[in-house]
Symmetry: C3
Subunit: 262 residues, 3 copies
């Protein structure tokens, strides 16, 4: 069974350098989330240096939130480096259903074989080509509606596919898990999904990808549970969430993870 | 008289999708402010998709804080979509007095008939062509000094014009209101004005624009009053402010709004 | 001896307008840090206006964190304005060891004679041409290892050079100081170094540069000590840090500064 505490311990033991090419909204929170958890974040996107920097990184996260063509090109350059080096990279297809431009960029990124794809149900449905129409970062569709699409996408792309929601669904196309950790305030704080992708990237370094993804999501959701326990709203939640990412021990994560086989 | 509680209720009932083309400083806070209040924010700016995305949104906020020519073009593209569709958009002329470039961009945006223009006194004076010289996001001028310019600008542009300050002034060129809600710590936190424009955009969806603007400012200022009550400084203030936006009820806003006719 | 309280008082008396051309990760926190301390921040980068805006500012901070060629050009334009006007500017060579592009940009910026250069030990070593290989924003090298390089760089560039670490080292190539203020949680929060450079820029306005730099670092580190005292983790730390920057008095800074001659 998944041992989320073990995978957290392994991640922290490495302080992995995670290269993030992400959206403007997420950058600060994502860096703070990675630092609180025990990883080392860096944000670099210029085409003049992105490949050179990716070669130094142990993992990459790519997020299309505030996309433009130059950034899309940088994402492809960095993903290619990771692929060629056999190092993990994670794709966050933010709002992919909303515009043709996002669909085109994601189609190109999929050919670069992401290690993990994580999004909400609407994004996974859109990415799987099932024509869901997203409204941006919101999930209009329930997780269950995207499970079959997630399995298909996993088989077709070779990636682990994770669907975020009240109960997450994670599959490599064969095995699948559900992660029930989380808190109702999480969707009321911006870039919680974006930041999770950075954490998944950190967990992937030298760890098996399906297990590492599930563990990252359980740890992240458990930090949310702790943060939500006595937060008055999304402001207090954010503060407590960073504190929980920092203080949670592998033993606490092992005890608190709510992971089941799907 | 203005019923701010009613307008808050109406806004929340819709969870409006608000498209923001805003500055890099504001993006994260603005998204969190909108989520805490009960709206659904999205940040999209690439010319390859901005018009397509605007067509999905119920309101748009445009902020020239960290402007460049490509972003200015995206702002025009999105504002044009909103205008053509009869949907509301809000202009925040950050630091418009500081450079010729900002003045040129704002002149072009004014031709696209913003529904609401909100800034500090120096910005409204500069936008009205009265030659005030801003120092950036600071207001060197008192609200009173900009009231006549605000009325002129409202008549000329067709927009509701709101001047932020210790007591705000809001006018459509005919009627005018003062909003006395707020707290002294608000100017010590960055992007509080920028984020307010997102809230105004959310309130404008299917609501009369002068009333909706006044209500948004009263709600926002009241959240500031609650946040400031026991904050030790601007750090604690921000946390409590997001919590207050989230927890304030329509009844509390009705009771706490300090709105008078000017 | 350095009177950090006096320099804080002088800075606040001016509310200096600090122009920042910084990275996307840092923008919001940096603005909040400057506002909490009592300065007035502005972020402007477009080549169409950056020189015009720099002419209004009392100090400039330049940070290469999320660099690209257009931003690099804007940095040069603004630094040139400050130099020509005899006004201070501060360089933060984030991750300069990581890529050739960063090295080239920093080489050009060094010719524009920054007033102060502040970085971690790895960055100062890399900038001094000693071939340290940085991993991004992390400091792999201890402060002591960079002291000789800092003195050389100060003499060669004409800048005050500050090396951040558990105990900071600050030199103008002749005199040198150590600043022992700080807290272990500071490296677990992103952009703490970037934001410090804004504070240094604010302190430099009309104050002697070596003393002002040392004072800014003592004040900043002391705020960190206060914040860390009862923070559970990096989330609570950030909140308390902004509050401490806001509430610390010149007398408290005078009493708490731990500055020694090196």
């Amino acid at each position: 069974m998944n041992d989320a505490g073990h995978h957290l311990h392994q991640m922290r033991a490495q302080t992995p350098l995670v290269h993030n090419i992400t959206n403007y909204v997420a950058m600060n929170m994502m860096a703070n989330v990675l630092l609180a958890a025990g990883a080392s974040p860096a944000m670099v996107h210029a085409r003049e240096e992105v490949a050179e920097f990716a070669a130094l990184a142990q993992a990459l996260s790519v997020n299309i939130g505030t996309l433009d063509p130059a950034w899309a090109e940088a994402m492809e350059m960095a993903a290619r480096v990771m692929n060629d080096a056999g190092r993990p990279w994670v794709l966050d297809p933010v709002g992919v259903g909303a515009t043709r431009f996002r669909q085109d960029v994601c189609a190109r990124l999929l050919t670069l074989r992401p290690t993990v794809i994580r999004g909400n149900a609407s994004e996974i449905l859109a990415l799987a080509g099932l024509g869901a129409k997203g409204r941006g970062a919101d999930a209009a569709d329930p997780v269950e509606a995207a499970e079959s699409a997630a399995r298909d996408l996993a088989r077709r792309s070779g990636a682990v596919v994770a669907v975020s929601g009240p109960v997450d669904y994670v599959t490599d196309g064969a095995a699948a898990f559900r992660v029930a950790n989380g808190h109702a305030l999480m969707p009321r704080v911006t870039v919680m999904g974006c930041s999770l992708n950075g954490i998944i990237a950190a967990f992937l370094v030298d760890q098996p990808r399906l297990d590492a993804t599930v563990a990252a999501m359980a740890y992240y959701g458990l930090a949310g549970e702790q943060a939500g326990r006595d937060a008055a709203g999304p402001g207090g939640f954010q503060v407590r969430f960073l504190d929980a990412l920092y203080t949670l021990t592998p033993d606490e994560v092992r005890a608190g993870a709510r992971v089941t086989r799907a």
